[in-house]
């Protein structure tokens, strides 16, 4: 019975340049809600209902309008979203803060959001780009690589990450031969790959999206023989990558958020059972975003954002029992019993400082066309 259910907004870019990422992300968020509902809901039987809203990624004002509708008309108690930093910033400033609604973005990684005026209402399960820059730099150094080219997707995610990486890498003594942007969803990447190849480097760091310009760059680089080893940050690491380049990227490596807690694997299996690709970028983070909101409500004993915004950090972090995907029922029970949880989830969230993921990473490589996990950091 949906009546009296708690509504959660799922505001992602269902249409627009990143539309192909959105379904798996929404799938994640709804999977979490389904799991809680199956467990009998929170707060003594309150069920959850997802309300989708298109944040488009190309129109901050439309995103605002849509969020406005979610909040004031549908009366959602929290928002999982938005997807792109631009829309996220607009919704946060124009809707979430004035109306006092909690927002947990699974994918807005812009460091700028760290300092945004948020009244403690904004969280994200994706780590800020700054952290990942250091991780990449370390992994490359361990592989003895000192000379790389970087191609990033020309948005706040790509640019922020590329900048963060470049400063970290150069501080560690490495050389970035070229740090050039590519636009997503364009027809042709020969010019970009031509420039990257001319600049040279042992490895090409592709700070893009796997189902978009990132793969386009890799494809063109492989075909022309410009590079044969790549480094893949979180926007690229997924099963899809292996399918896109069967056997062609052996020896390439990368990392995405995750821990040895096995959460990622558990989530993947759940997603597969649910009929979508759990390895698609930011899908796991979306599951976690929804889960965090719901657990925070349970912990606060209230679905009012003003109350649960303060418990969100608590459920995400130690102390308490570590919670993995599929264990939401258990977590609710613990909270009900007055215990504490340390939600780790599918992407090993650890919220730090101003409410963003601290960033545990799972290091991977490709062998015989398969994605292989080689370690955690």
């Amino acid at each position: 019975d949906g009546h009296g259910a708690i509504k959660l907004g799922v505001s992602l870019g269902f249409t627009g340049p990143l539309e192909s990422l959105a379904p798996a992300m929404a799938g994640g968020a709804e999977l979490a809600m389904g799991e809680v509902n199956a467990a009998g809901g929170i707060l003594d039987g309150k069920m959850f209902e997802a309300v989708q809203g298109d944040s488009t990624c190309i129109d901050a004002s439309a995103a605002t309008s849509v969020a406005e509708r979610l909040v004031t008309s549908d009366g959602v108690a929290g928002i999982v979203g938005a997807m792109c930093s631009g829309a996220t910033g607009a919704i946060l400033a124009n809707v979430a803060v004035p109306n006092g609604i909690v927002m947990v973005s699974p994918s807005a990684t812009s460091p700028g959001l760290t300092t945004a005026e948020d009244n403690g209402l904004f969280f994200r399960t994706a780590p800020s780009d700054a952290r990942q820059g250091v991780i990449i730099s370390e992994i490359l150094a361990e592989n003895g690589i000192t000379n790389v080219a970087v191609s990033y997707t020309n948005n706040d995610y790509g640019k922020g990450l590329a900048d963060a990486f470049e400063s970290a890498f150069e501080a560690a003594g490495g050389t970035v031969t070229i740090n050039a942007a590519h636009e997503d969803n364009k027809a042709d990447y020969s010019a970009e790959v031509g420039a990257l190849a001319a600049a040279g480097g042992e490895v090409l760091v592709v700070a893009g999206y796997v189902d978009s310009g990132g793969s386009g760059i890799v494809r063109a680089a492989l075909d022309t023989g410009a590079f044969d080893t790549f480094y893949f940050p979180d926007g690229m690491v997924s099963e899809q990558l292996g399918l896109n380049f069967p056997g062609e990227i052996d020896g390439s490596f990368g990392a995405n958020p995750g821990t040895d807690s096995n959460g990622a694997q558990l989530y993947q299996d759940m997603a597969t059972a649910g009929g979508f690709d759990g390895t698609s970028p930011f899908s796991a983070e979306s599951y976690d975003a929804a889960a965090l909101i719901m657990l925070a409500m349970q912990a606060a004993g209230s679905a009012d954002p003003a109350d649960y915004k303060d418990t969100l950090m608590d459920v995400a972090n130690a102390p308490g029992e570590v919670i993995l995907p599929g264990e939401l029922a258990k977590a609710i029970q613990i909270l009900k019993d007055g215990g504490g949880v340390d939600y780790s989830g599918a992407s090993a969230v650890e919220l730090i400082g101003p409410g963003e993921a601290g960033g545990n990473y799972r290091q991977i490589t490709f062998e015989n066309g398969e994605l292989v996990v080689v370690g955690y950091r």
Partner: protein
């Protein structure tokens, strides 16, 4: 005075406006006043953009498909006028960047002068190319290091020069000026192109403007987005924290959160409405006078108009600049409302094509048509999403749960947004090809 504002309005037009008003009010009851007021504000801005396009296309037949670029320039103005300067960045390279830009401008000016002064010959070609080339390298030599220094200043949150920290409303006319400046440059070179050639030229230029906004981080943080554009209204949250406000509205029986968000929106609405009314008055006056007649003549037949003593080039330039300035102003208003400049969101689909749809569906050549189109299409643009989802739920309601088709249909609901938009556009166009309020 008021009479000429509404000149040419018929009862049918009023009914159409009433219909759109009902759409909005109805939405308010089904959804909420907050949603609707937010939509109204954006519709007002869209209507202003549509007015600008209508001036160019409807009055003069200039096919400007670069609306997005002018809107973005207006947005840039909002940032440059209103945000506080980044002191550190300014002292690191502000002056040098300005010098570099002046050098660049001087180069172009020199090239233009040389082109004009020298007799047509191969030497002229080489001389101009030489000037441009040398100028380009000098420019880069001064510019690049300064930019590097500016962008190095705390790149994660600033890394740009910042603005003048003036009241943001000033940026509206300034946005108009920015756009007008760009329009002047474009107009001087590209306006002699005809129809679709002009269209693609403007489209190209708008893409170039966006490319600059995306890549010149020192200017407005590029794709990292410039946030924190101050609002001309008190923030809703401040109102909520203001005891006297809370007291007053609670006394009237309103919930403080709703009351505060609504009053902020009403404040914006008043500002935008004032701009729109002023613009309509100006354009109506111009259109219903010999000036308007002359523009129509030029649109009809340029050769004859010029034989009848009308300076076609000059008039085209005039209207192109004015129309673009209006779009620029709307762009500044938009960024003011959003509170941030996000270059990545400037997509032709939204800021060029959608505006065009507004103009054509409303009725090109008619100012009121543009306003109607602006409101109607914006409503659709936002509301087709729930309509699409609702339709899909209706369609699938009879199907067995868990069937493949049902899942697929529901999954596709988001795309019904575009589909519905298209269908409605086609239907409107079908039943009134000259627009809902045609030119008279």
């Amino acid at each position: 005075m008021i009479g000429s504002l509404f000149r040419g309005m018929t009862r049918r037009d009023l009914l159409l406006f009433a219909f759109v008003a009902v759409l909005y009010i109805g939405t308010a009851y089904v959804q909420s006043w907050n949603t609707v007021l937010g939509m109204v504000n954006l519709a007002l801005i869209s209507a202003i953009m549509a007015l600008g396009v209508n001036m160019q296309w409807g009055y003069a037949g200039l096919l400007n498909v670069g609306v997005m670029g002018f809107v973005a320039l207006g947005g840039l103005a909002a940032v440059l006028v209103s945000v506080p300067p980044t002191e550190e960045a300014v002292s690191a390279g502000g002056l040098q960047i300005v010098i570099a830009l002046l050098l660049g401008a001087a180069t172009v000016a020199a090239a233009v002068v040389a082109w004009g002064k020298m007799p047509p010959s191969r030497a002229r070609g080489f001389a101009v190319a030489g000037i441009l080339l040398v100028g380009f390298f000098v420019f880069r030599a001064v510019f690049d290091p300064a930019v590097a220094r500016v962008e190095a200043v705390n790149p994660a949150s600033t890394g740009y020069l910042g603005g003048l920290h003036l009241p943001v409303v000033i940026s509206w006319p300034v946005g108009g000026l920015f756009a007008a400046g760009a329009a002047w440059i474009i107009g001087k070179s590209a306006l002699r192109l005809r129809s679709d050639y002009l269209a693609i030229a403007t489209l190209g230029i708008s893409e170039i403007i966006i490319a600059i906004l995306k890549n010149e981080d020192w200017l407005s943080r590029g794709v990292k987005n410039a946030t924190g554009v101050p609002s001309p209204m008190p923030a809703a949250i401040d109102l909520q924290n203001d005891p006297s406000f809370v007291e007053r509205v609670t006394a009237w029986g309103f919930d403080p959160v709703t009351a505060s968000t609504i009053s902020v929106k009403l404040g914006y609405m008043a500002l935008f409405l004032a701009v729109l009314v002023a613009l309509i008055w100006l354009t109506q006056m111009a259109l219903n006078s010999p000036w308007g007649r002359m523009m129509r003549a030029i649109r009809d037949n340029e050769v004859a108009a010029s034989a009848m003593g009308k300076d076609v080039t000059k008039r085209h330039l005039q209207i192109f600049i004015l129309g673009s300035a209006v779009c620029g102003m709307a762009g500044a208003m938009l960024v003011t409302l959003d509170g941030q400049l996000t270059p990545g969101t400037y997509q032709p689909l939204r800021f060029t094509f959608l505006i065009w749809v507004m103009v054509i569906v409303g009725g090109s050549g008619n100012n009121w048509g543009s306003v109607l189109g602006g409101f109607l299409i914006y409503w659709l643009y936002i509301q087709v999403e729930p309509i699409g989802i609702w339709t899909m739920e209706m369609i699938t309601s009879g199907m067995a749960d868990g069937s493949w088709l049902k899942a697929h249909l529901l999954e596709s609901a988001a795309h019904m947004r575009l589909l519905t938009m298209g269908v409605i556009l086609l239907v409107v166009l079908r039943f009134s090809p000259r627009g809902l309020i045609p030119e008279r």
